[in-house]
Symmetry: C2
Subunit: 253 residues, 2 copies
């Protein structure tokens, strides 16, 4: 399905699931929406933390259309999260009611963008096979602080066999605006993850830890984690795993 058609299905609420595996080859994006008073600090936070927050697009206050997609960010994602003062206030299928002309929206690269290339190279993606949202974890890797935005990186995890890992590094390092190469490979405890089967976001994946090694990529859910500390009055984001599908084809180096 073409991105525009897929987005219309979300807009009409005919679908509201994860976008992993949808619209192959098109760039997918995390969304963060904040009142303008926080916009400078957050934009600088993205610039200073490009691994977790690679900027794809910024939509100024008073606008709803990105440059990367003929879309309305208020309706064209499958699912959104509303945070108030750093607390999750609810999950909704559109944010028309919450919208105001004071809001600035940031689109940030997403690892879903490179999944097609991994599958194409013969790498098995268990979360797709098990039809689950990719598991995501809070870590102890600190971000560079800007203003109120301060906190640790969130990572997405894919469990790969040893022979798949080399290929995965080579492939993903070319996707600079989609988090690039893995940030960590192996022992989850080293980056502060206590239980690989209890993700903080997304869903747990079944795999044999004797056969597969967890591989971690910086994740665009990081700003949602940072927001729990920063406690801005209002923050709206995509629901983890439920991205904006853009009209832009993947860019690889």
């Amino acid at each position: 399905m073409e991105p525009k058609e897929q987005r219309f299905r979300f807009r009409r609420k005919e679908e509201s699931g994860t976008t992993s595996g949808l619209c192959d080859n098109y760039l997918q994006a995390n969304m963060i929406t904040l009142p303008k008073e926080y916009a400078f600090d957050f934009l600088l936070f993205c610039i200073r933390n490009p691994r977790s927050c690679p900027l794809i697009d910024v939509i100024e206050n008073g606008h709803v259309r990105p440059q990367v997609a003929d879309a309305d960010v208020r309706t064209d994602l499958p699912k959104y999260r509303i945070y108030k003062k750093g607390k999750l206030d609810g999950e909704v299928l559109d944010i028309v009611k919450e919208w105001s002309d004071d809001l600035v929206t940031f689109l940030i690269g997403c690892s879903f963008t490179f999944e097609k290339a991994l599958v194409h190279a013969g790498i098995r993606l268990l979360h797709q096979e098990q039809n689950r949202v990719v598991p995501m974890f809070k870590t102890t890797i600190p971000c560079k602080k800007v203003g109120i935005f301060d906190g640790n990186m969130v990572v997405s995890m894919r469990a790969l066999t040893e022979s798949e890992i080399d290929k995965a590094i080579k492939i993903t390092s070319r996707f600079e605006t989609s988090h690039g190469a893995p940030i960590h490979i192996g022992d989850p405890a080293e980056i502060g993850i206590a239980d690989i089967f209890k993700p903080d976001y997304g869903e747990s994946i079944n795999f044999d830890i004797k056969e597969r090694i967890p591989v971690f990529w910086a994740c665009g859910v990081t700003p949602q984690n940072v927001c729990l500390n920063a406690k801005p009055e209002l923050m709206i984001s995509h629901a983890p795993g439920h991205m904006l599908i853009t009209d832009k084809l993947e860019e690889i180096n």
Copy 2:
């Protein structure tokens, strides 16, 4: 002279001239300082206009030290300009008196950075030979507007012989954070310049228009030009040609 020593000479007001030709190989930067209320729009303006405003560093409100130099931006440039509501209010040798914790500072790449490489390749730079500030011109090339920041590009001009131009293109296109390749070559009227001997900033250079062709680069004075339209309550910048010399060596691709 090393950058730090040179900056101390400016700080102690022992020198206040153009930085063209000083501290070879070190990145030089344009400076723009604005109250925080304008900072988001201006940061986005830089991101959307990378040819004229390649970002090198952002110094948040409450801070005076860049990451790229062990410097104090209030004292370590040779000369500053104060703009109030878009009008030049004065030229000063430091901005200690004007400083407040609400100010955000942007450092933007400068074509002085690649001049050493041009001279090294045997290209004559007449403004250095004639000991003048490089001539800069307002053009009719529009920038991408963000909020109140809207206006045309400013360019710096170097008059080269035909055989020098190819070399100059090749060399400067590698300096991405210092404006890169020329934006225009030849007829000044095509980009709205009426008289090549009457620059809007800097000083006029003597050359024979039958022997040399004007070559134009996007210029970090563009934000000062855009400011004349935007009319922020306060804006402080380096005086054209009087840059921050950083501790960072030139980065070339």
